[in-house]
């Protein structure tokens, strides 16, 4: 599954195989270690808007991805923390720290495919790698973009998805997700990019849910990338750290 909106950077090679294009965008050009401050704005069908602010720490060691998220607002979820250590070949539980109860909650790994904190993003939309089961077809190509259709027979959410990737910066400016009945379900749009460490990365990403009439905007407020292991110690991605 493609998204990697948090971590994609520039690429200069020009592969022609669709899988290779996606792999180039995802695997070779991502930041392994970063700290980001994000705002997530949820727009309901009736126009109401709620904003959640969070701080995300990401560290990747070989195939193991560690993610630590701490919400800072609004008050009812402030200091809620989410820890996820993703090993590629196993179902890892998510660890949720509930400040109101001062308690750790373990969420079964098989449930991580649901909505990301009530937004229009699925957890699977946020994954940073291809599962290996997908097939890809290059639908079209012009001077600016590749348009690739992908599908995964094991994906229960989407029948297929179409990704438009810029040749200039390898940013997937648009991803259209189609439901099992063939209707357009969601559209991801990258509305703004930023230059970090001489790389172009998405700054403002919007996921529109056509079925629900809602949309979610994630905007990077601050980001530090390519951090050293000392700046992102493994201790930060432990249960004990959440309870301190």
């Amino acid at each position: 599954m493609l998204i990697g909106f948090l971590t994609l950077g520039l690429a200069y090679a020009q592969p022609s195989d669709p899988k290779e294009i996606l792999e180039t965008a995802i695997e070779k050009k991502q930041f392994n270690n970063s700290i980001q401050i994000l705002t997530m704005s949820l727009f309901a069908k009736n126009g109401s808007k709620t904003v959640r602010s969070m701080e995300i720490h990401l560290r990747k060691d070989d195939e193991v991805l560690r993610s630590y998220t701490r919400f800072t607002s609004p008050p009812e979820i402030a200091n809620t923390q989410l820890l996820f250590v993703d090993h590629p070949q196993q179902e890892d539980p998510q660890i949720l720290y509930l400040p109101a109860l001062k308690r750790i909650q373990r969420i079964s790994g098989s449930k991580k495919k649901g909505s990301f904190m009530g937004s229009d993003f699925q957890y699977s939309d946020l994954e940073l790698s291809l599962s290996g089961n997908e097939t890809h077809a290059l639908l079209s190509e012009d001077k600016k973009n590749w348009t690739i259709q992908s599908q995964d027979p094991q994906n229960k959410q989407y029948k297929y998805w179409i990704t438009t990737i810029s040749k200039e910066d390898y940013i997937p400016y648009k991803v259209q997700y189609y439901a099992k009945n063939g209707n357009l379900l969601k559209t991801l749009s990258i509305e703004e990019t930023m230059n970090v460490d001489n790389r172009i990365i998405p700054k403002t990403t919007v996921m529109t849910n056509h079925k629900k009439g809602s949309k979610t905007q994630i905007q990077i407020q601050e980001i530090k990338v390519n951090l050293s292991e000392e700046a992102l110690p493994l201790e930060r991605f432990t249960v004990q750290q959440m309870e301190k």
Binding site: A44, K102, R103, R106, S110
Partner: protein
């Protein structure tokens, strides 16, 4: 620069104001406004809250210094000193291990979970090595539950039943001026009962304090801890004056030949103690298939067990509890159940059974248009009392949220508050209510 980034996010002060109106089927009503301010910095955590409560009879303002503690970390050690809430155990609703802090019971089941545990002055030293941790806790002054005894909907003694008993007592035989005597006794009882809701609680005898130890492992896959503590009971052991009990049982008032007895009753109508108790226990948190699984078990050497006519006692006690969590999208289902047994059963249990199975559940559901629905239920199979609560809430803007709450309590009828056969939720069964809460934060 990274340090600055994190510090900026963490040190944001938070203020929240919420006002909640309660409407009861009886003529009683209540307006409760709570302002909370909290600030968490690198080493300091502090929060403060102000409660303004208006009822049909009076209004009161209460200032509570909530958490205020300092955290210091050196190598594998963490030291926390100050007024703090320390969580033990895994269960949210039916835990017997979560005993470090007293519980605020003055608002009955209407209190928000984050305000239920009362911070207490304590020192906690924790040693962490990889996933293993050991924490030692010392409380110089024992924590106590904050209890409303009489005069509010959420008192241990039902208002209506106390009124009925007092009215009935006017007709009891005796040759003293009955009404003033009864009122004097009642006033004396109220003054004798500890008021633990003050900013500075009543004087307590100084001894060597309470001590607790927790050793365990917190990994991604599971967490498990063993516990041991030697602490005073957070719940008071209350014993009504035996002579007063004798008059109530005989349904008569003292006569002029029993003036000495009356003086004894007025001097000490009720005796309150907080006995020491040994607790040992363990807990577990992990996942099982699609469920989160939590469990705990404990043994208490001297658990306070109330008996009829407010004649408390202590008994050895054992319990085991299990909880299942199921999360999907932003929805959560939690089911908790607890089996407990008093090893030397008391002869006339009051408000609590000698053995029982308790069941509690919470469901939180995200609805369209930013609505959220929370359903809560609790039931005791021996006492046959319980509650059902639903809260429909919506965050209107980033600053405003509104919620509508309905609570129904269930339990058998009774005509004598001192011999009620069911539990405290049944005791409160006449206080079904609706409430409207408006929250604001800048």
């Amino acid at each position: 620069m990274i340090g600055l980034l994190i510090h900026t996010a963490i040190a944001t002060p938070q203020f929240e104001l919420e006002s909640q109106s309660y409407i009861y089927p009886s003529s009683y009503w209540e307006q409760r406004t709570v302002g909370t301010f909290s600030l968490q910095q690198d080493r300091w955590t502090n929060s403060l809250r102000i409660i303004h409560k208006i009822t049909d009879q009076k209004h009161q303002i209460e200032l509570q210094g909530w958490e205020l503690y300092y955290t210091s970390q050196r190598a594998h050690f963490t030291l926390e000193i100050g007024n703090q809430v320390i969580r033990w155990g895994q269960l949210d609703l039916l835990s017997d291990l979560n005993i470090i802090n007293g519980i605020d019971q003055r608002f009955g089941p209407t209190i928000k979970p984050q305000w239920a545990s009362i911070p207490t002055a304590s020192i906690r030293l924790t040693h962490r090595l990889q996933d293993w941790n050991t924490s030692l806790i010392w409380l110089p002054i024992s924590a106590r539950d904050s209890i409303s005894w009489i005069g509010t909907p959420w008192g241990i003694l039902s208002n209506d039943h106390v009124d009925a008993l007092l009215n009935e007592a006017q007709r009891w035989s005796g040759d003293l001026i009955t009404e003033s005597l009864i009122q004097d006794i009642l006033r004396s009882i109220q003054e004798s009962l500890p008021n633990t809701s003050n900013l500075f609680p009543d004087d307590q005898p100084v001894d060597y304090g309470d001590i607790g130890l927790r050793i365990g492992k917190d990994s991604i896959a599971y967490a498990s801890h063993i516990y041991a503590s030697w602490m005073r009971s957070r719940r008071p052991l209350a014993r009504l004056n035996p002579e007063l009990v004798r008059f109530i049982k005989e349904e008569r008032l003292p006569n002029s030949l029993e003036l000495g007895v009356i003086n004894d009753i007025l001097e000490e109508p009720v005796q309150i103690t907080y006995p020491r108790q040994l607790l040992v226990g363990m807990d577990l948190s992990t996942t099982l298939s699609v469920f989160g699984l939590r469990a705990e078990t404990c043994f208490v050497s001297n658990k306070v067990r109330p008996m009829t006519y407010m004649q408390g006692s202590t008994r050895p006690y054992i319990s085991g509890a299990l909880a299942l969590d199921y999360a999907f999208d932003m929805n959560v289902l939690i089911l908790e159940t607890k089996l407990f047994s008093v090893l030397e059963p008391v002869s006339n249990p009051w408000l609590e059974a000698n053995q029982s199975v308790q069941i509690a559940g919470v469901g939180q559901f995200s609805l369209p248009y930013s609505f959220q629905l929370q359903l809560t239920g609790q039931y005791d199979t021996s006492l046959q009392d319980g509650l059902i609560q639903s809260i429909l809430s919506r965050r209107i803007t980033d600053n405003w949220a509104i919620s509508l709450q309905a609570m129904m309590l269930y339990g058998p009828e009774s005509d004598n508050p001192f011999t009620y056969s069911s539990g405290i939720l049944g005791q409160w069964r006449e206080y079904d209510h609706l409430s409207l809460r408006i929250q604001w934060n800048p």
